[in-house]
Symmetry: D3
Subunit: 257 residues, 6 copies
């Protein structure tokens, strides 16, 4: 985080003449997408939005001046967490429309490439559908990824818990590095997992509710989390993401209509 | 802002057991709604979102523990500003769906009353449609207002410019009180208004682009803005809003299905 | 009403060669929009449609040959009157689609400007959304107004009741001037208002049902209505509307695609 | 037309207490549906709406007090006439939604049976889809017919032209009986038919434009029309319709939800 | 069925270079559309899909190399059969979208004419709506027919039952000729018709469930069916269809956008 | 394939009394979903549909009598193959609606569990969205998987090509085992891959067209395919699928509304 003002390339913090200027050099927009959903008794519900937002800021810093950052999409696809208070879920159609409107508006201002930076696994399918849908409607290039999936090996190396993936050792570690203020450190406890979890070993989409997996909404043992683990995971993902996006910027563009 | 932790009643900052607890006393959710759109050469484009978010926090503080606050809806209806770089506009249908999903989710968690706190005039009609649409689909009570419209007299008394309503003396004053960090004070300049403005005196909906009104996207003379004016406007609106919401909480509820 | 055949510029009364001819001179279409909803025990439920239709005819007469008039949209947005028998309400999405189809068809025939003449306050938000939606999809100019809002001062001067706005002194006066046949004069009685009405002083959108305001569906004291009051209100609105539309016809058009 | 006030059972002409009363005896609503489309150089474009409206009034009179009549749906499905000035076409989806809203509203007021009285062949498929769609969503009975299809034999017997079906001898005859004011008698001329017409003998849906069939938008020889022919056709259809609706009222109702 | 490989012109059986080649000569695509719905106790539920598919293959053979055949649409509009196990019904909107996507994709590959070959009467209205909808969105020619409606006279001559139209003498005869494998010959029995059937003599759309017509889901007396009757009906329809499609291929095309 | 009549549990081959009987024992429906899209110069375009259909039949055989099989969904999500002739793509929304209608209909007949058997990777995201969407609307259990993803280790062990995943050694091997009739053996050739392929190593969603990856639409070297490899892959996936589905049938059901 070596930038004097890391927020300058965020559209929400810029005036229109500043955007007009920045857009001359920018070659893509980064769109951070999170969720408002339960993350166990020790993480605030904005966990995924915060992580996506911070990750996008770090990535934007590395890519400067090639990328602008949109306001974070703070709501995601969370039907499976609705049995825990406070979770808010969009219908997939709403999120696809929302992203289509954002991309379409910025395309009008001259941008042709868009990177959907996802902080919540539950959004993955909908973002895939958004990519298929939007690129059929507009002559743009789209790239979408869940940023942690870019650090699979680092995660395997760092995480000690048997299970992870939500309100877990990995997520708390990331937050310790990027957004410690939303952890309730004194409330951290192991996930109260349930038998159904055996299902997780199959790569299938099983439409279950998260309280069928875990009583307290958490997985694994977040007590093993550390800022160091988080730093390794995030920085690995960041290096990968930077490379991918720079490659992405080389791809040929479809003709503007 | 007399609260030790003014953000505690924001859903994004709470864990699910904290929400579970708070929702026992809460009788409504406040949903702040802004926009990402040009506000002249001297206000960052998140102007309306920031103001709605801050206003909702101040109002939540007064209503505590009766209100919870959702993550801010950072995008609004801004087709009329699309000729200025950086503006992002949703289609009205997208915003109605988004609000319907938010209300529906929180209704599942036990809330029955929802207050749409609007910071952007361009959203007004869509929020009206959202009220009509959502209350037909769900047995909930909805209240929507543009918060500055609650302080019409104070605004008339405080504002000296001939014109106001966007990137203006009134808006800069409000920001000086609530979010001075997004003003570029040294760039403040008068609105470069155009003849078309004569139309504004009729209470009609004329689908024009904002650059038909003003060259630099601003109205009136924001150099006359002051934190004091902002405080009077905001605090007046706040007192009105508190009274309205408290009355609203007395209204009978429709039967849950 | 000084025209020999006031209905000639209504599209429903014209053959296609007559339209072909008229469209050479016409520069806009007027689209009257009303409702089918309760108007107390003394006005037929087509009140708003009749008033919008008559007003459009009077305005068309003044603008002749610059305006054509479409068939009246007889259904509007009336969820708040659904507790009274006979009320029919459209979903806002239906009305937006309907208006989009009408505008799109006439745009195909060469018209580029459209005036939505609204006779029902409950339609206002949806018409605003229609303006935002349609002008994003088609290169047209749109103007929308509730015609009585053009005569605010005259109404203030003429109306004696404490409350008005629906099935009231103002509306009966207008009908006495424009469509006396749908008044049941011998049934006129004061509105049976309820306490909730105190809310009405705030400029907020409170999604309530009309029977929470008034027992008989009426407001104020319609016994004070007169044809003279109606004439003043309607003729004032008419003069304003004519001026506004003539100005509107001067606005530059977007390029046809 | 033996009723003193034939319009009394029209919802648009009734106050809410009158509807409340009438609905106690009424067992169905009649919904007249027409079009705004070219009908050759000698019939005004509201031809189908007028005929549907008049037919519904005549039918309502016979069924009194069993039927209420809704405001006429003045717009229909007319893409095939769009090459003639003045035609306005809805998308099928819009019309289905509009009818769904009308039926849903009246179902809320206690009606369970609905008769779609169609005056325009081009609406037939969409009304079929409306029946399939609405009865899946609501526990109602629906009946739809193009009223002239109930008088096929009478039409065969009365009409002398080789072709008919639009702006034709049959339609002008009907209008002479039901709505002579929208005929331009001195403009009546034969249809300027084209070779493509051979297609008409197959019962297929060929998505063609009407100007591929006929130069002036008319078919056959409307000069052979007469009020007497119209009376026979209309009265035959009316007798059939009355019988069908009375049978329809005997059909068992699905359970209200 | 004189072709060595009658399936060669089916898109599902071709590689992309084979399609690339065939599309140079092909001037239309045939789209067979059926249903998955009850057909009495003696016909499998794919009856309509099988018949449409076979008919399209026979027609494609006659038209070779002018027509390509798409995969059969195996689901149709069957709300009226939902009271019999196994029936699956699409909403009309789903089928319209599905057909729009198929037509749009093949239009991208260079085809401009599309023939919807319908095997199920319940699809007729939705296919009509599909024609109106798709040809408004894309510059294509569309033709739709229920193939048995092309053989009305042959059917009248061949069929002896009083009633037919579903799981009947006519349908079993057709299957004996085209797809005998889905008949349970030893289960054939007369339709167990009910009184409601009197309604069938009116050309009206009465939204009834099929079990209101017949206890066992069948009509008439299928025991009178024969392969010979089926051959006459199918071959008559085939000859008509070939002629119609060849004429259709002569119709002028709209300009590609 | 040890069953005398492997097609008996396919809904399309059953009469309604047979379904009525079978549904008493059946505890789920299998829904095979494929695509119509290019698969290189040596596989017919129905490749994915055939494989999904055959796999579902084999699985149904193992699960008999617990599973019924619906007609195959022959169209999928293939925008990335549209630059190759013959490909047909649905919009994701269409496929979600289609699956929702199928599930909804069978739920009406008493089934509560549904297994989406996917033969095409491009469908994965849309099926995930379908699961999230449908289970929010209906009280059903849904399970979705791309069947080859259940045999990841077997595939790694069997496949020798560097790349695979489409029109490849793996897919041809599977077809040799399940549907050899759609392979053009004499046309098999290596994929003509392009540099862009380096992207494939990242787990990201990059909205590219398949002709950016490969000139002839194929990947890897399908000449190394064999029936034995196919058998191992398919039988491994089958054993996994059977186990997963049997576990799935143990999951608790949501209450029927």
């Amino acid at each position: 985080m070596n930038k004097s003002n890391p927020d300058l390339f965020k559209l929400e913090n810029m005036t229109w003449p500043e955007v007009e200027n920045a857009i001359k050099k920018a070659e893509c927009a980064l769109i951070p997408i999170g969720s408002q959903e339960q993350h166990g008794p020790y993480i605030a519900e904005s966990c995924d939005s915060r992580r996506a937002e911070k990750f996008a800021a770090l990535l934007g810093d590395k890519l400067d001046p090639l990328a602008l950052i949109t306001p974070t999409v703070s709501y995601g696809i969370s039907p499976h967490h609705m049995n825990f208070p406070g979770t808010i879920t969009l219908s997939p159609q709403t999120l696809v429309s929302l992203l289509g409107d954002i991309v379409g508006s910025l395309h009008d201002h001259g941008l042709d490439r868009f990177v959907l930076i996802n902080g919540h696994g539950g959004n993955d399918d909908t973002l895939g559908v958004a990519v298929d849908t939007i690129r059929t409607e507009l002559p743009v290039r789209l790239l979408a990824f869940k940023y942690t999936s870019l650090a699979a090996e680092a995660i395997e190396a760092e995480v000690d818990s048997d299970f992870y993936g939500h309100a877990c050792e990995r997520e708390v570690s990331e937050l310790m590095y990027m957004a410690p203020e939303i952890i309730r450190e004194n409330r951290i406890e192991p996930g109260e997992e349930k038998k159904l979890l055996s299902f997780k070993q199959h790569p299938v989409n099983l439409g279950v509710d998260f309280d069928e997996y875990t009583e307290n909404g958490a997985l694994g043992d977040a007590r093993q989390a550390s800022r160091e683990k988080g730093e390794k995971i995030v920085e690995t993902a960041l290096a990968e993401a930077e490379e991918i996006v720079r490659d992405f910027l080389q791809l040929e563009l479809p003709d503007r209509n």
